[in-house]
């Protein structure tokens, strides 16, 4: 089984290399280690996520041993949003980033209100009452998050989760394609795409759309699996990815192929520096990346200035 994988690794389809940057050089694109046309790729990816939608969160936990939660928390801390921020979470499917955003903004807002109250020690009862009234209905401080995903099933799961966990305020769900967002220019403060840009067929288009919908001064954040440079760790990681993950997929979600695709798509995704170059090409400034776990995951950040 291992030798078979090695052979697959070594004999990558020719078109895949050209298509690595997400540019459609001819109709050849990569779907994992296979070579497909652009349309086929979109369809296949849609099917993958349709199949995994219900078990998406469970599989995330079991594949990454729960570490994906830490990664997403780190992303949120890096963003450090203040109340009043408008977030667009693309490929946000089941809403992990959106819920974290709401929690973060809520706690920042609490601290803000507490600080305000501490300063105003000499208010009359009437004034205190009024300030409570005003702030009670503004626990998020006008922050909002729009979750956009191309896949209806993922959005459905996300909405159910939101209902289950009690998130209703400041949250909206939109069906949309990252390569062609259904939003106006200059709308959002922050654009995030967590573990989603790998599945976009034309990454350059997605980056351009990100640039378009962000306000001047807005921030682009991308959390994605990336390239491990440490050779020992890289071998262990490959071993784990190709041997364990598809098996987990079969056992837990009953879907070997989708998780095979997942692992292969990680290998096909451009490494940190290349993605940084692509982001700069789209027009972002101060583009930077931070490796988490030695490069297993990387957070890229850029500003529209």
């Amino acid at each position: 089984l291992w030798r078979g994988r090695c052979r697959a690794l070594l004999s990558r389809p020719a078109g895949a290399l050209r298509a690595r940057r997400g540019l459609a050089a001819g109709p050849e694109m990569h779907f994992g280690f296979q070579s497909v046309t652009e349309e086929e790729r979109r369809e296949k990816i849609y099917q993958v996520f349709e199949n995994v939608a219900k078990k998406y969160d469970v599989m995330n936990d079991s594949m990454t041993l729960g570490i994906h939660r830490v990664w997403k928390d780190i992303l949120m801390h890096k963003m450090n949003p203040c109340p009043g921020t408008l977030l667009l979470d693309v490929a946000g499917g089941t809403g992990d980033i959106a819920f974290r955003f709401i929690n973060y903004v809520r706690s920042v807002r609490q601290r803000q209100l507490q600080r305000k109250l501490k300063q105003h020690q000499n208010l009359s009862w009437q004034e205190i009452f009024e300030s409570y009234q005003k702030d009670k209905f503004n626990s998020l401080g006008d922050s909002q998050v729009v979750v956009c995903d191309i896949n209806r099933e993922m959005l459905k799961v996300g909405k159910q989760k939101a209902q289950h966990l009690g998130y209703s305020e400041g949250l909206s769900w939109v069906l949309g394609n990252a390569e062609e967002l259904p939003f106006d220019d200059d709308k959002f403060d922050v654009y995030t795409i967590a573990f989603g840009i790998r599945n976009v067929t034309r990454i350059d288009l997605a980056l351009q759309e990100a640039y378009r919908v962000l306000k001047p001064g807005g921030r682009f954040l991308c959390l994605e699996f990336s390239h491990v440079s440490n050779p020992l760790l890289s071998r262990l990681y490959d071993l784990y990815s190709f041997q364990v993950i598809p098996v987990l997929g079969e056992v837990i979600a009953g879907d070997w192929k989708s998780y095979q695709y997942l692992v292969e798509s990680i290998r096909q995704f451009p490494p940190q520096e290349e993605l940084k170059a692509m982001i700069e090409d789209a027009g972002f400034f101060k583009v930077d990346y931070e490796n988490l776990n030695f490069g297993i995951v990387a957070i890229h950040s850029g500003f529209k200035l």
Binding site: R21, D189, G217, G218, R219, G283, K286
Partner: protein, 294 residues
């Protein structure tokens, strides 16, 4: 192998909110990492001027220049300056920077350009204060040179300079202790120390200090001590108009002056003693030789 085309150098374009300057003046593009990466702007972006300056090998895109170019650093500078007015309310935090960015028409996410503990904001403020102080001292010096003002004695000069500098802290005095603690973070110590020493150097320069011996160091050390202690006294001073602080400053400067005159007194006394001993030794040796000769 990456296929590379060489689209024109892209400079930082200002959108309407970032302000425009006159058409002729074009600021130089910032030499940041983004300078290495090019792109052909998507349709809808304004045409760029043919870039000049240090990169003559890149071909421009033609078209007229219609917007001003601003470097990343200048934009950051503007955001920090705008953020200062929100410091009394929010402290030296990313929130103040976010509010500042909002007033410039930028998104609040621009606060992500800086550290979340507000280090850059504080360092920016300190450097601005130092620049203001320099300008003030230079103006006073010019007045003295033109004969329109009297040259102040050293102690009064130092006192006024330190007082002027510390008065700049008054609008932010409540949050200044927080700023001091951030300035002492290991990460910030090189920059904050640099700013402090250059400010003290400036004051001595305008005070007319031209020493090239060890006095240079002692003078700066003394003034740094005076400045720091006065700053700390100011932190917890609640007297009207900070009278106690200025009185403290006056006393410390007087002490320093007295110390220096005592030092020179000690030195001259020492010299006199040594000369006396030498004279005595010469006299004794002369007496010996004359006795020997006899």
């Amino acid at each position: 192998v990456r296929c590379q085309q060489y689209p024109p150098l892209r400079a930082l374009q200002a959108s309407a909110v970032l302000g425009r300057a006159s058409d002729e003046h074009k600021k130089e593009p910032l030499a940041s990492s983004s300078q290495q990466h090019f792109d052909s702007p998507p349709a809808g972006h304004q045409p760029e001027e043919k870039p000049q300056g240090p990169h003559p090998s890149y071909t421009g895109q033609g078209g007229q220049e219609s917007e001003d170019y601003e470097s990343e650093e200048q934009l950051q500078h503007r955001i920090l300056t705008a953020a200062l007015e929100f410091v009394p309310e929010h402290g030296w935090t990313a929130e103040a920077i976010a509010e500042g960015a909002k007033t410039l028409g930028l998104s609040v996410a621009a606060a992500g350009l800086f550290h979340s503990d507000g280090s850059e904001l504080i360092l920016h403020f300190v450097s601005e204060c130092n620049t203001k102080l320099s300008k003030l001292l230079k103006k006073e010096q010019k007045l003295v040179q033109l004969g329109e003002a009297e040259k102040k004695p050293i102690d009064e000069f130092l006192r006024d300079a330190v007082e002027a500098r510390l008065r700049m802290l008054i609008p932010y005095i409540e949050k200044w202790p927080q700023a001091l603690s951030v300035l002492l973070l290991p990460r910030n110590i090189p920059s904050s120390l640099n700013l402090l020493t250059s400010m003290i150097d400036d004051i001595w320069h305008y005070a007319g200090d031209q020493s090239t011996d060890f006095n240079w160091y002692t003078r700066r050390a003394v003034l740094t001590g005076i400045y720091n202690t006065t700053e700390l006294v100011m932190m917890q001073d609640s007297s009207p108009g900070f009278q106690d602080t200025w009185r403290f400053l006056e006393n410390r400067v007087a002490d320093a002056m007295a110390m220096s005159s005592t030092a020179s007194q000690v030195q001259s006394t020492g010299e006199a003693v040594v000369q006396g001993l030498m004279g005595a030794a010469v006299t004794v040796s002369n007496a010996e030789t004359s006795r020997a000769v006899r």
